[in-house]
Amino acid sequence: MSFLIFLALFNGILISLSRILNARLGLHIGALRSSFWNHLVGFLFLIPVVFYFNRFSFAQNLQDIPLYAWTGGALGVVFVWSSSWLIPKLGLTQSTILVIAGQMIFSSVLDFWIGKIDSLVPALVGTLIIIAGVLLGKRRPS
């Protein structure tokens, strides 16, 4: 169990590492080009991984997949681009705070819309606490 906990923590560590490395690359070649490299390197890395897990068997039933499912890659390009652009301006901590806040609130609103929220009161309380956390950033002590 504690190994699983470590893996999940490490997951977060890898995310932050990935973002700061892309931000650094963006300082040299621009955030958009950094996003390009992020996707190219990630793709090359994943080829042997996918081969190991399913030997590209999914290439056979591509026609069954709804078209919008392919747009995730485009959204990812824009996200990594914005992330690499914003991190030097906001710092990694502020950027992380805001991205998490946006993520959690947006996904909760979406879940509410599709009826996946079972308990409305905790959802509202959690959302308000997150919003309060974001707004705390406006009152920077001198």
Binding site: L4, I29, V41, S82, V99, V134
Partner: protein, 154 residues
């Protein structure tokens, strides 16, 4: 060390909105992963991203902010590697006793802790920033709020 008390609000708004973009991306890639598996979904997402970003590079005529004129260090190209790795790792812990909720909550914690360290020490040469007490309070609010959403709202 420098403080960043006067960051234009537009950057804050963009960062917050990008979080929404991220959750939409996770939703869509997750749907693809249901039809296939998570490694294939990630491979596809990265694959689509290559020509799409190349297209945007061709279209985006405005010069981007670049403050470093020397060649980028080799390690700065490794962001894509760690990003792809997180997907594989997440798939492992999602299917364990930790579940999706536990994975996400701990991942958020790992992210925020490392970001504090990286910022305060100025690692990777992006910027060194003083961590204010306010930042810690913000993080506590975000993490507590997120945990309530993750564990009690669904």
């Amino acid at each position: 060390m420098f403080t960043d008390l006067h960051v234009p609000k537009i950057y804050t708004i963009f960062a917050f909105l990008s979080g929404g973009l991220l959750s939409l991306m996770i939703l869509i890639n997750g749907k693809l992963a249901l039809h296939t598996d998570s490694s294939w979904s990630s491979l596809t997402a990265h694959f689509v991203g290559i020509p799409f970003s190349a297209l945007l590079i061709g279209l985006w005529v405005q010069k981007e902010d670049t403050s470093r004129n020397e060649s980028p260090p080799l390690w700065s190209f490794m962001g894509g590697l760690f990003g792809a790795l997180t997907v594989i790792l997440a798939a492992t812990t999602f299917n364990s006793s930790l579940g999706v909720s536990g994975t996400i909550a701990l991942s958020l914690l790992g992210q925020t802790l490392l970001s504090l360290i990286i910022d305060s020490k100025g690692w990777f040469g992006v910027a060194q920033r003083t961590i204010h007490r306010n930042d810690i309070f913000q993080l506590i609010f975000i993490l507590v709020g997120s945990c309530i959403l993750i564990f009690w709202a669904r």
